[in-house]
């Protein structure tokens, strides 16, 4: 069964983007991908996404800066941070900026799907409150 949630996966590792989006598609999610922060912001201006899955360490523009810009474009977008390494300080900063949750790489697709669904539920509940 396909999910109505629109996802954007932002990661500088091309192979990670390809395989993760295939795995997500197999779970019924439609996923767009971006290989950098600026590319993600461009896509965000043109399309409405419900949940963004965002890498922290990327060249050009780091995930924390991208998160802040994403929230300016759409304060209601839910963002799940994926990182190979997160210090306590980074985690605090991410949460302050309004990320929904964060995951450590590598992760099981089941865990990622669980977080995406929870984030999407929150987004939907917020819409219904309006």
């Amino acid at each position: 069964m396909s999910s109505p949630a629109k996802l954007l996966l932002v990661d500088d590792e091309q192979r990670f983007r390809t395989t993760t989006s295939k795995l997500l598609a197999a779970r019924g999610f439609s996923t767009a991908t971006a290989g950098s922060g600026p590319e993600a912001l461009e896509q965000m201006k043109e399309n409405a996404f419900d949940v963004v899955i965002l890498d922290v360490r990327m060249p050009e523009m780091g995930g924390v800066a991208v998160l802040a810009e994403l929230k300016k474009l759409d304060p209601h977008v839910e963002v799940i941070i994926m990182t190979g390494y997160a210090s306590v300080d980074t985690a605090k900063e991410i949460m302050k900026l309004g990320a929904y949750d964060f995951m450590l790489k590598p992760c099981a697709i089941d865990d990622l799907v669980e977080k995406i669904e929870a984030a999407y539920d929150r987004k939907t509940a917020r819409k219904q409150l309006k």
Binding site: E13, R15, F16, T19, T20, K22, L23, A26, R57, M82, T83, G84, Y85, S87, V88, L104, K105, P106, C107, A108, I109
Partner: protein
């Protein structure tokens, strides 16, 4: 005994009297030699009525004595400052090392976890293809599935190692509390006994009943003792003994964990606390446990050592300061 008054004794004895000479020239010496007043007393005890010549000679002798005492005290002070300098240098070197490990670990974690993430996704995709497409009917599907599962297993193993490496680097600053170390040991041994008893490993405790409360970080100390006890269980394997002992020693609490296991060869002992060094079979230990233990104990102001007799026993000994609260350095005046 009433303290003789220098000025009074130097009163009316013509010429330069011993007491007057000493009393009038003492102030610079008093600055560096707190013993000066007692030297003055000695000088004032010079029989009254001595001529200026004798008085001067006595004064010179007293000054010489004062000089010796002062030089001795200066040497002590220089030695003490030298020790403090060495201590500070060691702390700086250690802090730099930790900072390097921290930066290195963050870099390694990122560099390793990203390729691991790709491997994990690929293995999951292979699993998906093998279970949800026509590939499941291929003869070798089960073997491919087994390989994919093994990749996932090994990815998780690497993930654990990176996680432990980060634990080593990120060791948090201790939060100090006064604790009953014996009570803490009682709790942990109760936990380890569940593992030890079925393997016929007896855990005995020789705890000093009046061991002072120790100002330390309880969860961190618990982590260290648990690690040592689990290592001891693995070293003994079956049918043996582990002993945990505590003792109060010169402001330190000594905690030792000994086992009747296989022992550690002498040539390996110096490497035992080195990160990534392990005597366990491949895949059974990351070689970070003892390195983490040493990091924790040193951060709490203590030290950990090991001694072993190959084929007979191993003893890990921790010395923790009973009160590790920062103390003011002695004032320089």
């Amino acid at each position: 005994m009433e303290r003789p008054d220098v000025e009074r004794t130097s009163g009316d004895h013509g010429g330069t009297k011993a007491g007057h000479v000493v009393g009038s020239n003492m102030s610079p010496w008093r600055d560096i030699c707190p013993y000066a007043p007692s030297a003055v007393l000695t000088a004032s005890a010079v029989p009254l009525g001595l001529t200026a010549g004798w008085g001067a000679a006595a004064a010179v002798a007293v000054m010489a004595a004062i000089s010796i005492v002062s030089i001795h005290r200066l040497m002590q002070r220089i030695h003490s400052l030298d020790q403090q300098r060495h201590l500070l240098e060691e702390q700086i070197v250690r802090a730099n090392k930790l900072s390097t490990v921290d930066e290195l670990s963050a870099g390694i974690a990122h560099e390793i976890n990203n390729p691991l993430a790709i491997m994990a996704q690929e293995a999951q995709w292979i699993h998906h293809l093998l279970t949800n497409t026509g590939l499941r009917d291929v003869k070798e599907a089960a073997e491919c599935e087994d390989s994919a599962a093994e990749i996932s297993l090994q990815v998780n193993r690497c993930k654990e190692i990176v996680h432990k490496l980060l634990s080593l680097a990120r060791q948090m600053e201790p939060v100090y509390q006064c604790i009953d170390v014996n009570g803490l040991i009682d709790n942990i041994t109760g936990l380890v006994e569940r593992e030890a008893v079925p393997r016929n490993i007896e855990i005995t405790k020789t705890l000093q009943p009046d061991l002072p409360l120790v100002y330390t970080d309880p969860p961190l100390l618990r982590q260290v003792i648990l690690n040592l006890l689990m290592n001891a269980c693995q070293a003994v394997d079956r049918d043996g003994a582990i002993c945990v002992a505590t003792l109060s020693e010169d402001g330190y609490a000594r905690i030792s964990v000994s086992d009747s296991g296989c022992g550690i060869p002498q040539d390996i002992l110096p490497k035992i606390f080195t990160p990534f060094f392990s005597t366990k079979p491949e895949g059974k230990g990351s070689g970070l446990g003892l390195a983490i233990c040493r990091g924790i104990i040193e951060r709490m102001g203590g030290h950990i050592s090991v001694s072993s007799m190959e084929g007979a026993s191993t003893v890990f000994t921790i010395h923790l300061p009973v009160d590790n609260r920062p103390q003011e350095l002695p004032s320089s005046h």
